[in-house]
Symmetry: C2
């Protein structure tokens, strides 16, 4: 029976067909299921548990930086969405509209929130009167909806889960500082918790969020060299505040407009985890967010004392780690494959011979390294192994990103690299949107990822038009 | 300046105008704000923090009883909603419909979920094949929408936050056991965490959830004697499984339908907390879910050493409790009122004279009792005070419920009690819906709350029609 379970059937090879490999993992690791509403997915327990761990870690970071959680309505009246002109132009084409409530046709359409800037502004107008009311540092965990034509689990779905921070500040300086602070929180989170390195920087005007003055982004690279916009942090200036007439009495007793930010990351990060770390045997989960950190597999479990000992190890390890003891009737080999598919970072094997020698076997998911460990030092050994797995995963991803980051000085080099070498291309840019458009057209989809904070000077002229260069840009295809 | 803050303005007296007292508290304790979408409210940080504490406590209880969290789409295709006839009849009149996605009119309307039974069923059909796949014990935290005509913050809003558990079982017995287990979890939570006593039992047929075979309910009584349906747990039998053609291969190798439950509580509980415990000075929060458990107020804070000492106490207490030190320029008197309004269970006052004597003052929110406490025993004293506040709040609420629970044997007694004595009425009932309807009409809204698990025999006949009685019922008006 057990051998027939689909869980451990081989998945498509990552190098053979990356897209199919991805959907195989999503399905066989039981992360999600498709639903009857096109583009909306179901988060199954294992997929949702990853999100819960992500939430807990990020929420702690948000609270440590002084933010409070709130909850805004999920519906936005059309007139409210229209208050900020650029914003509505950016979002109106991709929202779902509620036109009927109960048995009555609504006099005004309501859209299901695609993002909540306008709702926060409406509320901020009510609660900000004086500089003493600032800053307002709010965050919201919720689902949002953007009517997507082509969708892919976690990466691009009509409904997705995310957090959206929305803050208001007394001065532009403070708001810009906040924008960068939260980008840094994301960068730290990616590195420390997800074991994912990334390029960070500022978006070009063309790629800036609808209604924002500046958008900062974190861009991790997937194993196949394709970029993912992994999180954004926006500085709005006082544009929304003016559109919504939000004013406060300043320290000098004059009426002023507050300065605003917003920043968000979403369940798309689960897609990044799969595509940065996964391999041909399935998921490889970063220890910090893995729903199971240690899988204990008894060997020859019908022999006397094995299950008792396995249970004893579980009790010991559960004090410090998230542990699963699998004492089902499936074979040890089947269980090994199953927890590899599920990406569990550390496996502990214990059998009669191990018990005799007061030892167990510890196997790392990332490199399959086995070691025999004395049961006296079990906790210490698991703690070390988890840290080593995290560090090695980060280093491997960093090496991949570095290997797949190329420099192009001439346009021919650029086009050739875009065609033949997946990954980021570092190249100079004049600052004109025409060059961004041309590069995208000629290369079949390479876009500017960001202008890094520390730019390199690769040449004096734009890689596209040859005019004097203003910036060094990271370019790449994206999900 | 400080004296003008609205926070500490007197609120309407609870006994004078209960409804106005309620909305005053909601506003002045900064729990919520109204939004531009009729019937949808904004959870402000203080209100949302209460919900986060409720969630953390309940989520722990759900996981301890073996449940896993998932997330289903927020939209339901009309054809899916229609699969179970009673269910759609119950909900269709009160849902919001999405008819347009982006720029295209949808070929099928989608409703914003009012509850998610049908979505869970659609998914369960994909993942349940064998008795080995059972039970499925899933829960979801989300927002739902029911198009309400008249709304009141927390108690009845078009959108509200809740959890909905949805489980599938091999046998009817197991499903019924689960239904009652989760009702018990709610009852324990109300008592142990919210300090709220309640009547529990089974709903009459008329009050049973759309599509369910049986609905169990927890019914706390508000201070004014009005009931609140505080949570429900439903047993569905295999009705939905048949409608959705969900089958599994049983232990005897035959195809069978699984048996289903669902159960939920919502942000309405915050309304219950306000109306059970609040008083004329504002909120009184149960210590377990209060965002601030201890407010430290320095007295004569400009005197040397006071703020330093207050900060030292904060550091000590923060190791065990949620603490706020208010060192703002507002007067101590203003601060006392503010944290009373916010319902903070314990206040610690510390001034120069206290410091001299190595003591502080501890004041309980529920009864204003003051005591001087040696700083050597501070943690112990605060721990004891919080427990005493919880216990006293529960006892006070229980006394109120007992005082306002009346017995009626004749119809005249019933009508007279309903008119003159707010609260529950215990009375016998024949089991006919006609008597429920008549009682509701004659009394202007008294409905059956539930049939308790341990019925009393108050007489042999129905209080309404005089026919032989089948059950003892708790009756009452509700929010």
């Amino acid at each position: 029976m057990a051998q027939n379970k689909k869980m451990v059937e081989a998945i498509t090879s990552r190098d053979e067909d990356f897209a199919k490999w991805y959907t195989d993992i999503v399905k066989k690791a039981e992360l999600c299921d498709y639903s009857g509403v096109k583009g909306c997915m179901i988060f199954r327990p294992y997929g949702y548990a990853i999100w819960e761990n992500i939430q807990a870690d990020l929420d702690r970071r948000f609270k440590e930086t002084g933010h409070e959680n709130v909850y805004m309505p999920m519906l936005i009246p059309e007139s409210l969405l229209q208050k900020e002109k650029d914003h509505v132009e950016g979002f109106a084409p991709e929202v779902a509209w509620v036109t009927q409530g109960g048995s009555e046709k609504l006099t005004e359409r309501l859209c299901v929130r695609p993002t909540s800037e306008v709702l926060f502004c409406e509320h901020y107008k009510n609660v900000i009167n004086s500089y003493r009311d600032l800053p307002k540092l709010y965050n919201q965990w919720c689902s949002v909806m953007r009517w997507e034509k082509t969708t892919r689990p976690f990466l691009r779905t009509s409904e997705f889960l995310w957090q959206e921070g929305h803050t208001m500040h007394e001065t532009a300086e403070e708001a810009i500082e906040e924008t960068l602070r939260m980008l840094k929180v994301y960068e730290d989170f990616y590195r420390e918790t997800l074991a994912i390195p990334a390029v960070v920087g500022k978006k070009t005007r063309k790629e800036t969020f609808a209604g924002a003055e500046a958008t900062y982004t974190i861009e991790p690279m997937m194993h196949n060299g394709v970029a993912l916009q992994g999180g954004t942090s926006h500085y709005f200036g006082d544009g929304f505040a003016k559109a919504f007439d939000i004013k406060f009495t300043g320290r000098d007793n004059t009426l002023q407009y507050p300065h605003q930010t917003s920043w968000g990351v979403s369940t798309r990060m689960i897609g990044a985890i799969i595509m940065v770390h996964g391999d041909d045997d399935g998921l490889v989960l970063p220890p910090k967010i893995s729903p199971i950190q240690v899988a204990i597999i008894p060997v020859a479990q019908h022999k006397e004392g094995v299950l008792e000992k396995a249970d004893e190890l579980k009790k010991r390890l559960s004090k410090e780690f998230r542990v699963k003891l699998d004492d089902s009737e499936n074979s040890p080999g089947w269980k090994f494959s199953q927890y590899e598919m599920k990406g569990v970072p550390v496996r502990v094997e214990i059998g009669p011979k191990d018990i005799e020698k007061n030892q167990c076997v510890i196997v790392r998911r990332d490199n399959r390294e086995k070691q025999f460990v004395s049961l006296d030092n079990l906790e210490e050994a698991v703690r070390t192994a988890l840290q080593e797995v995290h560090d090695a995963m980060y280093q491997k991803a960093l090496d991949n990103m570095n290997e797949k980051t190329h420099v192009a000085v001439t346009f021919d080099e650029f086009v050739d690299t875009a065609k033949n070498k997946p990954g980021f291309i570092k190249a100079m840019w004049c600052g004109d949107v025409e060059c961004e458009d041309k590069i995208k057209d000629v290369t079949g989809g390479v876009k500017s990822r960001c202008i890094p904070f520390e730019e390199e000077k690769l040449s004096d002229v734009c890689v596209c038009c040859g005019k004097p260069a203003k910036h060094q840009v990271f370019w790449g295809k994206q999900y």
